[in-house]
Amino acid sequence: MYRYAKLKNRVTRTLGIDAAEVESDPFVAELVDALSPDRVKQDGAHRALLSHDASVFDGGNSGPVVFPETTEEVAAVTRAAATHGRNVVPRGAGTGLAGGAIPLGVPVVVAVTRMNEIHEIDTDNGIAWVGPGVVNLDLTKHLAPIGYHFAPDPSSQQVCTIGGNVANNSGGPHCLAYGVTNAHIVAMEVVLPSGDVVMLGGLDAEPAGYDLRGAFVGSEGTLGITTKIAVRITKNRPEVRTLLLSFESVTDAANTVSGIIAAGIVPAALEVMDQRITVAVENYVNAGYPRDAAAVLLAEVDGLADGVDLDADRIAEIGRANGATAVKLAGSDTERALLWKGRKTAFGAIAQLAPDYYLHDTVVPRSKLAEVLTKTYEIADRYDLTIMNVFHAGDGNLHPLILFDARDEGVLEKVHAAGGEIITASLDAGGVLSGEHGIGVEKQKFMDRMFSSDDLDHQNRLRQAFDPGCRTNPGKVIPTGHSCADIQSLRSVPKEVWA
């Protein structure tokens, strides 16, 4: 809610933008020439809506919005922006949680949602060529009849785009066994900020030269726009077992996770939810999640029948040894799907509890899970805030969520202060700043706690090698003082450009 209050003037002004006012802009005219009038939007409604993603960051300021359909069109938009000295921000489905797609500096927003073609499935090489706007789950569904899937499965997979997954190097529950997005990207066609089109990576197992593909994955839209992606496709495992374990404390659940990994089992997924979030989820899905358990662990193993049964038994045993009060095996595919639907809609289910949430995304060593979790609850208590934990336990990726109602006076300061302490607690335990959601604009201010000043300067140099003008998704990832962009001025709306 608060983002609306804060933004009131800016958005309201944006919504009221008079089309005639901007029609005379030669940059817009060039965009219309390059695409078509119906795919260049400059009205207030479009610009206001595309100033947001799924994060709580209080909005940016969008220039014209374009919906290209081909690589050539993206290149033409990028060249026009270069000629006119304008900024460019790529955007997928806008589900980012770190504000990556939020436009700063009145850029042209390049929404690649219409580049959603699955170009080619090549089972010989185990890859698929897809457009950046292809929805993650759509690819998996498309592959189902031939017995394959796309392994990275962020909880937002039903809506987020593969271009967005690449840019954020997204993870998901099943990335524990299969690796995050980076492990599944083979090659990419990229439109550089100059408008040149290059291919990064390649289908050879050991491509010659620098691994620029690796640099691009996780670059959060700051190195250019990917327009075509070769992703690895993964064969479906013949058998899957999904277990739901209930515990009397979050610590017991965390210890079970450590126990499973220590026993040498490599589960496909290990997810923990605490009681508050489990109840909200159960209200929505009715999957049979216990409402009275302090924490639940969703564990999945896949492979050959004998192996998975053995692993499932061992997981149940380790759970019981760590105080599990109930262990349930999903009896059917429907039941299994419902359990996962619950886990994957957890963030969305939160509005049942409070209208706003602030989500963190730190990673801590598995051995410190229980300790850091206890600290997060302590911190929240001290600030008189409600906190919930839902996390990819297998790789120590915590998602503490602070609930609040932004209409409450002064609550935001508390939320940010508590968030800062949580991050500090994770870093102190030897953790890192972002597991999978990216840095965007939200975690920027914490970058210098992880990296030295030299580290950050060199990251910025890499960025400038791709984007010397500092115009592609400016003001993201690299913090003030190290960034080539003037973040302060990006966040204000320059007088000469509309609004």
């Binding site: 609306y4 933004l7 958005v11 409604a45 809506l49 489905a93 219409r114 937002s156 969305g348």
Partner: protein, 385 residues
């Protein structure tokens, strides 16, 4: 301006975007202004921050099919359908939405005689090639002549409504036959209950809808279940409780059943017959799947009577019919339908079963062989006799 939306309802949306892929207009445009998340945000801007209601804002609202595919997809339980209906009502009242001609066009719906004359005229006009195909009525069969439905008893009502009554009397007859075969005596509502008000409600003409709801509640005897064979009408009638907010209206809504929903509990009472030799794809009307959420019943009832049932692979995405939508937004409706046609093609059915007249007309106009599930069941039953 004040759209008169409840502020808690508005605030329930956390802008997560999980609803986006379930929205037909977002699916075909990839455009946030054509998405549930975007529309909710525009409502907020207008109501909470007095943002101007520009043409683009009106477009964003007007392009919504009101299929409510976004509702079951939303883990936060945002009551999107009510938000959109209220928004349209307020904007219609202030003259910013719903052109006058549309209101006029809806008048005859509440007057069966006028409509009967209208559809008969339309039928003739179509035969002689007078109806522009833009209306999407091209391939549909518009009946030229009607025969009244018999009353077979007083166990249940069969709601015959307005559009359905004249354009799809065969469906009512099939429903009546199947209910009778299951041992229920049926009273067709006929002129007793001329119109459910669904189209009026979608257009934001809430006063008209309330009037129709009250009229219907007065004329149908209490206690008796009311069986509805049009998903859109059933959904509207199940909402009377919310619409009127009275105990009486809630009780009324409580005895409204979709015909498949009702029969799913009584399949065992239907005779066992040889199934029709058909591969049937089930197309769930949005108002059955997303609003009433009883679409599984269609499968339960249909399964014993056909050789093979197949699911479409689009998770129940809307077909673009949406009441008057296909007439008001022909371009988007066409694009949305194209997606559905792709999905139907992949399922390779002999025939598509759809429990809503609007969907059947809309898909039929694109050359898809559609039939109401009850007609299939009735056909299987009568073949055995």
């Amino acid at each position: 301006m004040d759209l008169k939306l409840g502020s808690d309802d508005l605030n329930t949306c956390v802008q997560c975007g999980l609803c986006l892929p379930h929205c037909p207009t977002y699916r075909v445009t990839g455009d946030e202004t054509m998405s549930p998340r975007g529309r909710i945000k525009l409502m907020r801007e207008v109501q909470l921050h007095d943002a101007p209601v520009t043409d683009e804002v009106v477009d964003a609202f007007a392009s919504c099919v009101q299929c409510r595919g976004c509702e079951p997809a939303c883990p936060s339980g945002v009551p999107y359908g009510h938000l959109m209906e209220q928004t349209r009502e307020t904007l219609a009242d202030s003259g910013q939405m719903t052109p006058v001609w549309l209101r006029a066009a809806m008048k005859p719906l509440a007057q069966p005689k006028l409509l009967a004359a209208g559809t008969a005229a339309l039928g003739v006009a179509k035969k002689v090639g007078l109806v522009p195909d833009r209306l999407g009525l091209g391939a549909a069969d518009i009946p030229l002549r009607q025969e009244p439905l018999p009353t077979t008893g007083t166990d249940v009502y069969l709601f015959t409504g307005c559009v359905m009554d004249t354009m799809q009397r065969d469906v009512h007859r099939a429903g009546l036959d199947v209910l009778t075969a299951a041992g229920f005596g049926v009273t067709p509502t006929g002129a007793e209950a001329p119109c459910c008000g669904a189209l009026q409600a979608h257009a934001g003409l809430t006063d008209e809808t309330r009037g129709l709801a009250e009229k219907m509640m007065r004329s149908l005897a209490p206690e008796r279940p009311i069986i509805v064979d049009s998903a859109g009408c059933g959904a509207a009638m199940k909402e009377y409780g919310h619409l009127l907010g009275t105990e009486e209206a809630r009780a009324f809504s409580g005895r409204v059943f979709d015909i498949q929903e009702f029969l799913a509990d009584h399949v065992d009472k239907l005779p066992e017959v040889a199934p029709l030799d058909l591969r049937v794809a089930v197309q769930d009307p949005c108002h059955l799947r997303h609003v009433q959420r009883v679409h599984e019943a269609t499968r339960v009832v249909l399964q014993p009577f056909v050789r093979e049932l197949v699911e479409l692979d689009d998770d129940g995405l809307c077909c673009g019919a949406g009441g008057a939508y296909s007439v008001l937004q022909p371009e988007l409706a066409g694009q949305i339908r194209d997606r559905k046609l792709g999905s139907i093609d992949r399922a390779t059915p002999d025939v598509v079963a759809s429990a809503n007249p609007g969907c059947s007309l809309h898909l039929g106009a694109a050359g898809v062989d559609t039939i109401h599930p009850m007609e299939l069941v009735a056909r299987a039953l009568s073949a055995a006799m």
